[in-house]
């Protein structure tokens, strides 16, 4: 069956179109004063108008610094937070205002892996019952033997010893706990997995174990993954496409290879230049560092939000907000991207050229 136009909806799965479409999503947290009578005196504009698609089977990375809105975006897609404005479509259906049974049905399809494997597992429950909890919540596999078998299968899938289902979280190391979190997230065979900083609490040797597991599962099960992290090397390793956020906005989005090879937004360039590279022989060039701190999301700068820290900022940047769009470059690389996508889309009036990028001291690219 060929889906005629976008609003096909109706019964039956619809294998075409993106899995998730995020449209002008906004989330403001009110700032209040007063204890009894709370007056609203402003708002933290955590997410302030972001739009992107999540394609089926891809891993989309979201990077940015503390407070850029990446985790809030994830929580909005999970429907753990209600959006202030804008919409989220899941498989072509608007889920922005879903409630009750419909919301519960969506939660089956979207699962999350959390950052801290210590606080995200109930210390008083056995691993078996933690992993089986999604079945209990959704009333699945009602016969007891069934759940046990499924739990053991999941534990083997994520590389845990299935005989340990009767143990408690404290008997496991950080990396093993993160595997437990992954097993729980996979229990209901979700269509979308959101991983929010899944390895940043782990030691480097363990981090590689969990990253390999996630990449292997993603390939084997054809999962669609949103991977949120502040570590740009990890995101590059894991993701097909990457979105860079700054102060509640996406400043650049595109295929990983294009984005890391030729970042166009000065903020992306600055982020990449700041990453320390584990090779002392590559430390010849002086890096250009960003100065100052990220402005408060309660009163973001006018125009382009990055203009207060941007080395290329001009008059126009403080007055007119740039749109997220594809920018041609004087030196076009012929063969980037597969599906007609040349490079990245960037929200900048004066995107970087190759020469400027080289001057920033970016050491990426293979």
């Amino acid at each position: 069956m060929r889906a005629s136009e976008d609003m096909a909806g109706g019964a039956g799965p619809q294998p075409e179109g993106p899995l998730v479409r995020v449209r002008d999503l906004v989330k403001h947290f009110p700032l209040t004063r007063g204890i009894v009578f709370q007056r609203k005196i402003g708002a933290v504009r955590a997410v302030d108008g972001v739009s992107f698609d999540i394609e089926r089977g891809e891993t989309l990375g979201i990077v940015g610094e503390t407070g850029c809105g990446k985790s809030t975006t994830a929580r909005l897609i999970m429907r753990l937070l209600d959006a202030t404005a804008g919409g989220i479509d899941f498989e072509g259906q608007d889920i922005t205002g879903a409630k009750g049974a419909r919301l519960k049905a969506i939660r089956r399809e979207v699962q999350m892996i959390f950052q801290d494997p210590y606080s995200s597992l109930n210390p008083r429950k056995t691993i078996g019952s933690i992993i089986a909890e999604p079945f209990a919540i959704h009333g699945l596999l009602r016969e007891k033997g069934e759940r046990g078998r499924e739990v053991q299968r999941l534990m083997e899938t994520v590389g845990l010893n299935a005989e340990h289902y009767n143990r408690y979280p404290h008997e496991f190391s950080g990396g093993q706990r993160q595997r437990i979190g992954v097993a729980r997230a996979l229990a209901l065979s979700p269509k979308l997995l959101i991983a929010d900083e899944p390895v940043s609490a782990l030691d480097v040797s363990i981090q590689a174990q969990v990253l390999n597991l996630l990449r292997d599962l993603q390939r084997r099960l054809g999962l669609t993954v949103v991977f949120i992290a502040h570590d740009l090397s990890v995101v590059r390793h894991m993701c097909d496409r990457v979105a860079v956020m700054y102060l509640g906005k996406i400043v650049e989005i595109g295929p990983s290879d294009a984005l890391y090879d030729f970042p166009r937004h000065p903020y992306t360039g600055a982020l990449l230049a700041a990453v320390p590279v584990a090779d002392p022989s590559k430390h010849g060039s002086e890096r250009r560092l960003l100065s100052g701190d990220v402005p408060s999301p309660a009163s973001p700068p006018s125009g382009c939000r990055f203009h207060t820290r941007c080395p290329k900022a001009q008059e126009l940047c403080s007055t007119r907000e740039p749109l997220l769009e594809e920018k041609s470059s004087p030196v076009v690389e012929g063969s980037l991207g597969g599906d007609g996508q040349a490079g990245t889309r960037v929200a900048c009036h004066f995107p970087l050229s190759r020469e400027e990028l080289a001057q920033m001291g970016v050491r990426s690219g293979g």
Partner: protein
């Protein structure tokens, strides 16, 4: 350095030796529980407590710090030797203004008036790049961003122009752009003040940027020590190989597979026998369970020391294969083919 705990005696640091010279940076790399923090806390006398057994010598400018009394040690600590901790929020007192905490540090070691100390505090905040220091000196820690708090911590550590600065994961809690600023600041101040830095971190990128010399710690011991250039170009210990192969690199091919180190770091209450790394080492031999390797210099490379029982030529061949993108199994197979040896 031995700690008693509820579960038994913890051998947190087990016979480590290193030295740092003025104007140089030593990076100490290792995972959680490898003893890298305890070794530096001990240097400052911060692990002296009921039941902790410390042996060895910590020589600072010819004096053995372990033999000093609490009073004498206090004169050294914060004056000649200063420390920066990982979490700047828990290291600053939340109820006192930043300036007051700086003034306290300045006056603890020098006989200066309050007015002079305040002037010095403003100067220090300016030195570490806090904008508008004369106003910011009266801020509370919560009014600072994470990067500014870490700058304030560095200002406090530098208050008395220490000769040795111990930085324990100083940038781990910070965003990359702020991390880059803080590292650049530490390098600048080192050039200006000529101090020695001991940089403790789990981040190989950070030590590659900062360190002249690197010590790799595993289970309370130094397993490899060499110049930064050699650690990254010609590492000798299988644990160091494991660390290098398990991080995704921004400057390598995107599809390169990560090779994790199997298993988990050992307990320091009952560390493995023989070579502490043998249970996780893909190349270990049966006798490595019994023999405990000493940290010894390489033939012809006195500055490069390694504690490994594998033969030097075997190690060289293994690393050549790994560096070319091979897995530990492939490297092992290749070395095995080139002649079995007893």
């Amino acid at each position: 350095m031995v700690f008693p705990s509820e579960d038994g005696v913890v051998r947190a640091v087990d016979g480590i030796t290193y030295e740092v010279h003025g104007g140089r940076t030593l990076g100490i790399v290792g995972e959680s529980g490898s003893g890298k923090t305890v070794s530096s806390l001990t240097t400052l006398g911060l692990t002296r407590r009921e039941g902790a057994r410390i042996s060895g010598r910590i020589v600072f400018e010819g004096k053995d710090l372990l033999t000093l009394g609490e009073e004498e040690l206090r004169a050294v600590r914060g004056n000649d030797i200063a420390m920066i901790f990982q979490d700047p929020l828990s290291s600053l007192h939340p109820l006192y203004r930043v300036g007051r905490q700086l003034v306290e540090t300045v006056r603890a070691h020098g006989d200066v008036s309050k007015q002079q100390a305040r002037q010095r505090a403003i100067e220090l905040l300016g030195l570490v790049g806090i904008p508008d220091p004369a106003r910011r000196v009266d801020s509370f820690p919560h009014e600072f961003s994470g990067g500014m708090r870490q700058r304030a911590m560095i200002a406090m550590a530098l208050a008395n122009e220490p000769k040795l600065l111990i930085a324990d994961e100083p940038t781990t809690a910070l965003d990359v752009t702020v991390q880059a600023q803080i590292l650049a600041l530490m390098e600048r101040l080192q050039r200006e003040l000529g101090m020695a830095i001991v940089m403790i971190t789990h981040d190989l990128g950070v030590v590659a940027e900062m360190a002249d010399e690197i010590a790799v710690m595993y289970a309370g011991r130094i397993v490899e020590r060499a110049s930064a250039a050699r650690i990254f170009a010609a590492p000798e210990h299988p644990y160091t190989w494991g660390l290098l192969k398990s991080i995704p690199r921004l400057d390598g091919p995107r599809e390169a597979e990560l090779v994790p180190i199997p298993g988990t770091p050992p307990s320091l209450i009952s560390p493995p026998s023989g070579c502490h790394f043998h249970p996780r080492c893909p190349y270990s031999q049966p006798e490595h369970e019994r023999v405990d390797p000493a940290l010894e210099p390489l033939a012809g490379e006195p500055g490069h020391q390694v504690a490994c029982l594998l033969q030097a030529d075997v190690r060289a061949r293994l690393w050549r294969r790994l560096a070319a993108g091979g897995t530990p199994a492939q490297a092992l197979a290749e070395v095995g083919q080139q002649g079995e040896r007893a």
